[in-house]
Amino acid sequence: MPKRTDLKSILVIGAGPIIIGQACEFDYSGVQACKALKKEGFRVILVNSNPATIMTDPSIADATYIEPINWEVIATIIEKERPDALLPTMGGQTALNTALTLSTKGVLAKFGVELIGAKKDAIDKAEDRELFDKTMKSIGLETPRSGIAHNMEDALEVLEKIGFPCIIRPSFTLGGSGGGIAYNIKEFKTICEKGLDLSPTNELLIDESLIGWKEFELEVVRDSADNCIIVCSIENLDPMGVHTGDSITVAPAQTLTDKEYQVLRNQSFKILREIGVDTGGSNVQFAVNPEDGRVVVIEMNPRVSRSSALASKATGFPIAKIAALLSVGFTLDELQNEITGGATPASFEPTIDYIVTKIPKFAFEKFPKAEPKLSTQMKSVGEVMSFGRTFQESFQKGLMSLEEGLYGLESICDFSSNDYTELLKHELSIPGPKRIFYVADALRNGQSIESINELTGIDSWFLAQINDLLQEEVILQGKDITRLSKDELMRLKQKGFSDRRIADLLGTSEAKVRTKRLSLGLKPSFKRVDTCAAEFETETAYMYSTYDGVCESRPSKNKKVIVLGSGPNRIGQGIEFDYCCVHASQALQELEIESIMINCNPETVSTDYDTSNRLYFEPIIDEKVLDIVDIENPLGVIIQFGGQTPLKLAETLIKHDIRILGTSFDAIDRSEDRERFQELVKKLNLKQPNNITITSADKAIDAANTVGYPLVVRPSYVLGGRAMELVNNPQELTKYLREAEKVSQQKPILLDSYLQDAVEVDVDVISDGKTFKIGGILQHIEQAGIHSGDSACSLPPYSLPKDIQKAISEQSIAIADELNIIGLMNIQYAIKERDIYIIEVNPRASRTVPFISKAIGSSLVKAATKAMLGISLEEQSFDPSLPDRYFVKEAVLPFDKFSNVDPILGPEMKSTGEVMGIGKSFGEAYAKAQLGAMKNLYFSGTAFVSVKDSDKKYLNKLIPLLIENNFSVIATKGTAAAIKELGYEVVVINKVMEGRPHIVDKLLNKEVQLVINTTEGRQSIEDSASIRRTALESKIFCTTTVFGGLAIMEALKNNKEAWSLEPIQQITNIN
C-alpha cells in the first residue's frame, strides 16, 4: 500500500526534558520521524519542551512549538493547527500518555485528529497491566503470576496468592518509576504505597518474582499489510530483577538455540497482532527460565523505545524512520534499506556479524543518600554502546567508553580486608552499579563459574568469556614488554584489551605499549555496520574498530574534519553537547568538508549514520581517536563541542602533532589552570571571588580563614560541580575533607569565597579571532551557589540593569580577546550588588548553547565551526539578535527516582534535563517552564514559608506577593515571627521536631499548595529534608531558594488561557 493521500498534516509529540528512563533516544527517533514525514510532503507540527534537542531545530518540522507537553496546551495547538493526524509513538511514555489523555478528553474527536502508529485501544491493551495480562492469556501466552491492586487491601490479597519475593510496578509510569522488589511485608507496604501514588491511575501490578531468569528483548516492526520483522534480539547479561535500562545488554542474543529463539519470535508477532499495533515498531520483553526454557512475557511497548534506538544503532536499521513511514501507509517492501544503498528492501531481518554491548552509566555519587543498588526502578543516567567482533572485544570497549577511568576489568575489591569474601558475596547477590567488576574479582579469587552463576544469575557463557579475559591478565601481569610477541599482542587486542590496560598490567606506560604495537605493525582494521553481515556491499561509512583481517574503512582524499562527541550522558554533560556536535557536523557539510564523527552513545542523533559523512562508533579515548586520526588524516579535530570529554584528549592530540581546530590548547590551559587564570584576571583588571588552591588537607583550615566563610569547596577539573559543596564553618570543612577523595598534589581542592545573595549570569561568546559577538546573557533565577545547571535562567536577563549587562558583555569580549578564542566560550559571573565577579571560564561550547541558539533562531555552533575553518563572522553575516520574548530555562531533577534523597538544590549539579518556556513576559515564560518541567503550579491556596535567617530580608517582598496571589501563609516559628513583624497574617506550624501536627502532616494531607523552604548549614538541611521530600512525593510545588519563590510570584500573575502559543519559526522571524 502506498502513502496515504488523505493526510496532509501530522502532529508529532516529543518526549520533553531528559529524565531517567527517557533520554536522547527520543530525540534520535523524533528527528528521524519528523524528517521522514517532512520529506514525504506532510506538514509536520511538533510539540516538544526540550530546547536542547535537534528535533526542535527549526528545519526539522514545519511548525515547532517549544511548549509544555501538557494536554491542555496541546489541545490549544491542535485547535490552531488542525492537524489531520497525531503520531504518538515517537516521544516515549510522555507522548503516549499525553495522546491518550487528548483522546480521553475528547480533543482528538472534536477536531477530527486521527491517531496513527498506535490506536487508543492498542495503547490501552499494552499499557494497562490487567488488560495486557488478559490479552496474553487469550492468545495462550504466559505472563508472570500476578495480581492488580488499586489500594493496599487489594495489594495484601494479591500478596497471599504470590508470596515473596515479589515485584511491584505502578501502571503508566516511565522507566518503571516507583516500582521495586519486596522481600518482606514492610518493604511490600512501602513500595505499594509509593506506587499507588505515582501511578496516574492508582494501579499496581504485583508479579511473581522471576529474579535470576534470563531476560530477552525483541524489536519488532509491523506494517499495515501484516508483514512483521524482528530487527534485533537483545540479551540482558544482568538477568531479571535489574531494570533492562540498568542492565548490561548484548545484541544479538547469545544463549538461545534456534528453536527457542523462534518461539520468542513467533510470540512477539502474535503479541503485536493481538494488541493491535497496526504499524510501527514495538518492543517485547521476555523472561526465560534457565532451567527448563519456560517463557514468560514481561511487557511490550507499542512505540519506539530506548531499546529500539539501541537496536537501530546496533544493526543499522533505522526503526523510527521506518515506523514513521509505515504509519502513513507505506508497507515494508515499499521502503528501502538505505544502508545497502537501496540494494535491499526494508522488509528483511538485519543479521549482524559482530557483537554489540550496551553498558549503563550511573550517577549514584551525586546522591550519597541513595543506596547504590539496582532493581526494577531504572536509575542509570546514560549508556554507552560498543562494537567488537567478539563479546570480549565489545565488552571491554564498552568499559573503556564509560569514562570512569577504567580501561578494562580492573580489580575493585580490597582483598586485604578481612571480610572481602562476605563483601564479594553481597555484591554478587545484590546487584549494584559495579557488579560486573565484583564478578571479575570473584573469578580472580578462584570462585567457580557455577557458583557465580548461582549467585548472580549471569549466564555461564558470559562468565566463561570474562574468566578467559582474566586468565589473559594473569599471563600478562608483570611481563617484560620487550618479551611480548606479535601473536600475543594481537590476541590481546582481538580480545579487546586497551593499550592502557595492557600497560597497567605490564607496569609500563600506555605510550610505550602503543609504540610497541605500532612497531609490530598492529593497527586496528575498521569494519562496516551493514545490516547484512557482508552479504551486500555498502557505501555507508558506519564503522567500528577491531583487530581482524582487512580494513574496510576506505578513507577518502577529501578535505575532512573529525568531530569528537560527548560520550555517555551523565549529569552535567548530556544532550546539549550532542546537539552541538551534530551542528558542527552539519556546518562542515555545508562547507563541503567531509565530517567524521567519533562517539559511543547509542541514544544520540550524532551516532545516526545519517548525520555525518562518516561515523566511527568508538570509545572517545586516546588510543581509539589516535588510530582513527591515523587512518583518516584529517585537516584537524574539533574538541569544543563534546563537553569536557574531548578536552581531556587535547594534550594527547597536541603531543601527536594533530591540529586542534579553533581555540588553542594553550588558551584551554590558561582558563583551566587556576594560577594561569588568576594571572589573566589580574591582567585584565577583572574581579574574582577570593580563592585558594590547596594540595594537602592539613593546610585547609588556615587557607579557609584567609579566604573567609562561607566557602564553596570542590576538587579541580570537574564538570557538573562534582563533589562541590557550600561550607559555613571549619567543622563543615573538616567533615567535607574527611569524606572527599584524598587531597593531593595531583588532586587539589579549590576553596572559593561564596558570594551570598549574588545573581549568577551565564554568557556565551562567539569569536573568529577578530570579531566577538555575545550569543546571549542568561540571568539565573536561583542565586549564586546553586549549580548553574540546576538553576532556572532567563534570556534576556529579567532584572539586571542594562549598564551591568553592558559591562558583562565588555568583560566577556575582553576575556575572549585575551584568550584568542576561535569558536565558542562560556563565562559564568556572579553579580553582587554592582560588582561583577568571574566564577569560571570554559573555552568550549556550554550547556546553554542550544538554548540560546533556539532563542535567537540561529546556530551558534554552526557559526563557530565555520569560524574555526577560517570563515569570519562577517563573511557569514552572523549577527544574532533576540526576538522580543522571554525565554526561560528550567532544570528537571531526578529526585523522584531516588528514595531518601533530599530534593534540595546546591552547588553540585543534579538535574538530568531542561525545558524552555517562551512568553511575552518573564512571568509567562517562567510559568510555562514550570509546567514544562512537570511541576504542579497552583494559582491559589496555602503557602508554607520557612526561610533561613539571611533570606528573611526578602520576606517584605515575598509575603505581599503571596497574599496578592490569593495565598494564605503558614510558617515555622522563626519565619512566622519575622512575617508578623512586617504586619502580615500568618499561621504558625510545627517543624517536624516540634511535635504534631507538623508541617509534614499538612503536606501529606495536601493542605499546602506551595512550599518555599530555604535553609543552610548541614544540620538544618538534614532536619528539614523530610519537608522537601514529602512535598516532592506529594507533588507539591517546592522551591528551595527565595529567588525561586519570587519568580513563582511573577508566574502566578499569568493565566494559562492568556498564554501565547507560537511556533519558533514564527517567533524567530519577528525581528
Binding site: 534480539s233 517492501d333 553481515a533 552479504e535
Partner: protein
Amino acid sequence: MSFDSKTFDATLYLENGKYFKGRGFGSHKVGVGEVVFNTSITGYQEIITDPSYAKQIITFTHPHIGNVGTNDEDCESKGIYASGIVVKDLSKIPSSWRNKKPLEQFCKDNDCVGIANIDTRELANTIRDSGSLRGCIIPASLEAYNDSDTILKNFSGLAGLDLAKEVSTKSTYAWNEPIWNCNQTLPHDLHVVVMDYGVKRNILKLLRTYVGLVTVVNAETPFLEVMKLNPDGVFLSNGPGDPEPCEYAIKLIRQLLDKNVPIFGICLGHQLLALASDCKTYKMKFGHHGGNHPVKDIYKDTVMITSQNHGFAVDNSSMPENVDITHISLFDNTIQGIALKHHPAFSFQGHPEASPGPHDLLKLFTQFRSLIQDAKKN
C-alpha cells in the same frame, strides 16, 4: 577464546590463492568442498546437519558459534554432511539447558573438521565478490601429505554433480516423530511419500504433524514402486548438488504429474519440479544461505522472512506457459515459488520448514494438506 589440546593449527585454502590460518577443531582431517557463507545467527547445529550442505564448507558470519552446544533434537539428519565448518570464535563452554555435547565434540563424533579464529567477515566479502569458491581445510600436521593445489584441482565443484542419490536413504522407512514441543493430535487420514534427496528431519516432522502418515523412500525409487505405497501426495525433498543431472527424479516427477498426484517440493525438490515442467535452472554466484531473506507472495502481496540455502535457482527468463511464479526473493528477484497451472503441484525454493530460521512459511505444509484433500474430492 583460548584453545586447549583438542584443537590444532590448520589452514583454509581457497582456489583463488587466498588462505586463512586458524585453529582446527573436531575431526583431525582434510575437508574439501565449495566454500559458502551462512548469515544465520542461531541454528548452527541444524545447519551443519542439513544434508543439502554435502560437499560444502560452511562459513558462519555470526562470530560466536557453539554457544548453546548440541543436543539430540536439533539434528536435521543422522550426522554432519558439510565437509567443513569455518567460524570466527568457537565457544569454550556451551550454555543451555538443552545442551548435551559441545560443538567441538559433536564435530569429532561426526567426522567433520572445523576451523576457528578466522576473519569470517573477510571470507564472506571474498565469496560475495568472486562467487562461491572451492576450498579445503588442512590441519598443519597433514600439510606434508596434502597439497592444497592438488586437492582443489581434483575437486570439481558442485555444477553437474548429482549428490542427491549419494545422501539418500538406502531403505524405505516410516517417520512418526512430530515437531518439537508438539501439542497437536497427529493426522492419520492421509499418506505422504517423501522422495529423499537429502531430506531434513524437520520436514518429516512437519509433514507428520500437519499432513499425515509419512513414508520416506530412496531418491531413485521408480514410479511404480512409489505408487505401490498408495500415496495421497508425494513430497520432493531438499538436497545437495545440481538438480540437472538428477534425471531419474525428473522422470519420476513427470510420471507423477501425469497421474495428477499432488506434489510439494522444497529447495532441490522445487528445482526438480521446475525442470520436470520444462523450466531451466542455473548455478548462482554465491547462492542464498541465511535466515533473513524476504520473499514476496505475489498473489497475496505479503512478505515473509525465510530460511534459505541454495546455490542453484530456477531461471525466470524462460518460464513455460504451464508454470506460475508464486513467490520471488526481494533480495534479487529470483524465483522462490512456483505452482503448476494444470496439475496439483507447487514448490518453494527456500526452507519453509525453517530449522533453523523463521516459521513464516509453515503454512505451506497445511496448504499441501489442503491440496491433497481437494485432489481427493475431485
